[in-house]
Amino acid sequence: MSQSEFVRRINQGNSAFVDTRNKWNRLHLDLHMLLTLLALASTGLVALYSASGQNLNLVNSQLIRFGIGFILLLTIAQVNLRFFERWAFIPYTGGVLLLLAIPFLGIERNGAQRWLDVGVQFQPSEVLKVAIPLLLASYISRRDYPPSLKTVFFSLLLVAIPVALIGIQPDLGTAILVGVAGFSVLFLGGLPRIYLFTSSCSLAVAMPLMWFYGLHGYQRQRIITLFDPESDKFGAGWNIIQSTIAIGSGGLGGKGWGHGTQSQLDFLPESHTDFIIAVFAEEFGLLGVLGLMALYATLILRCLLISIRSQTIFGRLFAGSYTFLFFLYIFVNLGMVSGILPVVGVPLPFMSFGGTSVVTLMCGFGILMAISTEQNFKERRRSR
């Protein structure tokens, strides 16, 4: 019996299984998720308007990116899940090739080569944020369960290549996050505890070695400044001092939209990109931050639910690890801006200005929506 025949029979209604999808799902739309995404995007635009110093051009271009992102999201949501599973290596390979091209075609900004200029400027590392969980989920779901040593080895290799390439840009923050994303797929994919234990141990050993051999001087400085921002008041510490002042002075209710002195008067650097949450916290206060966190939480919970409900291993793994990655981005960004994590260039999803981030983010959620709306069968309850 072919698959289409199987589906056709089920839909005739005389089967033991029933399609649980509502009418929106049948259009491959997860309304819950879509509304949360729209809410986040709007919040982001509102914050960006103020953080950019009322620069409507900037807001417009971000709006266009969101538009492109949503179109991509809705398009991707229509695609059959098995398509992603099969072609998962394409975005990965593409991303790695682009990373390889950076030393030749890249543009240097702030002392690091992260951008490629091919008509539009974008960051290939952003592509990997989606591509790695996608490839690993696809790879592991086809292997035996639990993953064998060989599977684990190849998986780690697949993660290590782009991580190394991103790390030498240097973009340590993204490298670590992408690595963690890859690892989380393995973790959710049933990585035996012995490997978990070994890897934790080796990480503990590697950390001091990394400190002395793996880190650039400025990266070390950033970590030092984390613990003592005053040590370099007008250098690396400046960002942290000013961003904590911005957040702290916001108080419970904030100074009001467009009235944050720290950001409006340029005390806060990077105010419309990585440090945008400081602007948001200054202008909307703790209540605003909690509101934003609640929106993120809603989205994360929805994604977790999608992951739990998914009936394929690939769907589960991708949805779960992508959610973790999404959470990590938020955590690292909010943590670094508020001074509990070192300053690594990690944008805040939906809020920070930046094209690649928005578009890849939406692609990822597009796949999640596809997972959410895949044909989902449940045993028909006889009792009814």
Binding site: Y145, F187, T244, G251, L252, L265, L286, S307, L334, I340
Partner: protein, 616 residues
């Protein structure tokens, strides 16, 4: 289906997935809790700390300088005002190459080394970023135009407007208005920091100094928001300054200029007082200086030139110059002798041209060789200025009486004028000589004092005040420079003297000008009113007993001082004047004609008839 898995394995896998997902959720929950507590810590617990830091970052209080009050003369002609001046400043943060900019600027307009030095000095001082530093003050219109044309390659230069004090009449009113200058470090310590937070200048002398409190005004302030570079972004909470109060003086600039003019080429002083009010109509000291030079900041070289000049242009002779009053004291001493009953109108002497104290061979000479002859009464003694009469009088009248009347008429005491400084002068007495010289009073001292010489010293202002007292019959005023809303005479002392004695002395003073024998008779021509006065000629060096005073043979600096006091019109005095010309020769030849010129000007301007017709 591509892959088959045992059903059990699949269920196991799902179970394990949920467990691991749960572990992940647990981590996420913990991390979220950390984040929330961090933001709570920053935004609620430490909110005050960060709010303060944020305000320190961005708020700045800037004082706004109030406009200094103007100074007007009695007719509303401005004596001191604020005029917009344009300064060239450099914002060093906006320059690409400071040295290049400076050399470019100096190619266009002249920048002195002094200005460059000052610029680099203030550049090194602590200041806000983007705060302009002044390079050249008070650009001319031409310089402004040149700079405007070349603005494109003078990046970082800035022309700013500021109010600059200006004294339109310049040197003629310099001693009265005084001048303002930059506040120096010492003054800064004593000034009220609130009142002077925005002020750049301070009254240094004259009326500018005396009425500093009225003129300075109340500074305003504005709270401004600055950005991280220190640039002012917007104004918050502006409190406007209260401008300084304008000041109106009794002074008439036409009389002041006239007074200054009659002193031209001489050293000396003219003080003209309105009899009804005690107001200073004119008070000139020559030579003078240009107060405007002090406003812009005078260089050391130029200052020294003024300060060390033998002519002493910075010295206000009207208030600080102390001169022997000479014969101008005679009317007062005459009044004293009559009022105290020492002599009467019939008392007369023979004047051989000199006087000798009993038992002494020293001859106190009269100014007139050969003397004034027989029947010299008190009135003749005043009209012809007979010294011998007063020498003789001094043997009858103790110094205590001279001192009493001299003091009543204001000699030896501060007049109380509203100016920052004035000198006391000296009205000698036994006590005074004992106190200052630790010597007894000799009869010879009285002889010298009787003609206003010896120890006696008076400022031109004191003489003018004394003249007012003679003009209004005994009311000695406190002279005023600034005029209040209801001008009235501020009487310092009043002396009771019998009317007939007043008439006698005032007649004699009128005859000084209008009698054919009067010492000031040469000024009675061509006037349709009467002037009462008294000349004075004061020896600067002692003449040896057998020598003659020969004007041609002595150096200018040793020549006599010429003095004249007068009031006019004689019957209803409106104005009193005292004039002194250092080394000017005789009072009758030099001082009286100069005084007449000033009185003439007053009469032309304020003659009662024309004044009343103007009012109507």
């Amino acid at each position: 289906m591509d892959h088959y898995r045992p059903f059990k394995s699949r269920q196991f896998e799902q179970q394990k997935f949920y467990t691991r997902l749960l572990v992940g959720c647990f981590f996420m929950a913990v991390l979220t809790a950390i984040l929330v507590s961090r933001y709570y810590y920053l935004q609620v617990i430490n909110h005050d700390v960060f709010m303060t830091k944020s305000e320190n970052n961005s708020l700045l209080i800037e004082p706004i300088t109030p406009a200094r009050g103007n100074i007007y003369d009695r007719n509303g002609v401005v004596l001191a005002m604020n005029r917009p001046s344009f300064n060239l400043s450099i914002v060093s943060e906006r320059t690409v190459n400071l040295d290049l900019l400076l050399s470019n600027v100096s190619k266009l307009i002249s920048i002195s080394d002094f200005e460059k030095k000052q610029f680099f000095k203030s550049l090194k001082r602590k200041r806000r970023p983007f705060e302009p530093v002044q390079l050249k003050k008070d650009l001319s219109e031409e310089e402004r135009a040149i700079l405007a044309v070349h603005q494109f390659d003078l990046r970082g230069s800035l022309v700013t407007a500021k109010l600059l004090r200006e004294y339109p009449l310049g040197s003629s009113t310099a001693h009265i208005t005084g001048y303002v200058g930059a506040i120096n470090e010492q003054e800064l310590k004593t000034l009220d920091p609130l009142l002077y937070s925005g002020a750049l200048v301070l009254g240094k002398s004259g009326i500018e100094k005396k009425y500093e409190q009225n003129l300075v005004g109340q500074p305003g302030y504005q709270m401004v928001e600055v950005n991280s570079l220190g640039r002012v972004m917007r104004e918050l909470n502006k409190v406007d300054p209260v401008n300084g109060k304008d000041l109106h003086l009794y002074l008439d600039h036409r009389l002041q200029e006239k007074a200054y003019e009659v002193l031209e080429g001489e050293k000396g002083s003219v003080v003209l007082i309105e009899v009804d009010t005690g107001g200073i109509l004119a008070m000139a000291s020559a030579p003078s200086f240009d107060p405007n030079k002090f406003v812009k900041g005078i260089s050391h070289k130029n200052y020294n030139l003024l300060a060390k000049s033998s002519e002493k242009p910075l010295f206000d002779r009207a208030l600080l110059g102390q001169y022997p009053p000479g014969s101008t004291m005679k009317p007062v001493y005459g009044l004293a002798a009559l009022n105290e009953g020492i002599i009467d109108e019939k008392y007369n002497i023979y004047d051989p041209g000199y006087f000798q104290l009993p038992g002494s061979k020293h001859k106190y000479r009269d100014w007139k060789r050969g003397g004034h002859g027989h029947d010299i009464h008190l009135n003749n003694a005043i009209i012809e200025s007979c010294d011998t009469f007063f020498y003789k009088l001094s043997t009858l009248m103790p110094i205590s009486i001279l001192h009493k009347y001299g003091t009543i008429f204001g000699i030896g005491e501060k007049t109380g004028i509203d100016m920052p400084h004035e000198k006391n002068g000296i009205m000698p007495s036994r006590d005074w000589k004992k106190r200052t010289h630790n010597l007894a009073w000799y009869p010879g001292d009285s002889v010298n004092a009787s003609i206003g010489q010896g120890f006696t010293l008076a400022t031109p202002l004191q003489l003018a005040v004394m003249t007012v007292g003679l003009a209004n019959q005994g009311k000695i005023p406190v002279p005023r420079v600034a005029r209040d809303k209801n001008p009235s005479l501020l009487v310092k002392k009043e002396v009771e003297i019998q009317k007939k004695y007043w008439n006698y002395i005032r007649k004699a003073m009128k005859d000084v000008v209008h009698d054919p024998t009067g010492t000031a008779r040469r000024i009675n021509q061509g006037i349709d009113y009467e002037i009462s006065g008294k000349t004075g000629t004061v020896q600067v060096i002692g003449i040896k007993q057998k020598e003659r005073y020969d004007i041609a043979s002595i150096a200018k600096k040793n020549r006599d001082h010429a003095l004249f006091i007068a009031y006019a019109p004689s019957d209803k005095p409106k104005v009193a004047i005292a004039i002194i010309i250092e080394n000017g020769g005789s009072g009758s030849a030099r001082a009286a004609p100069a005084a007449k010129e000033v009185i003439e000007t007053y009469m032309n301007l304020y003659s009662i008839n024309s004044n009343e017709s103007k009012k109507q």
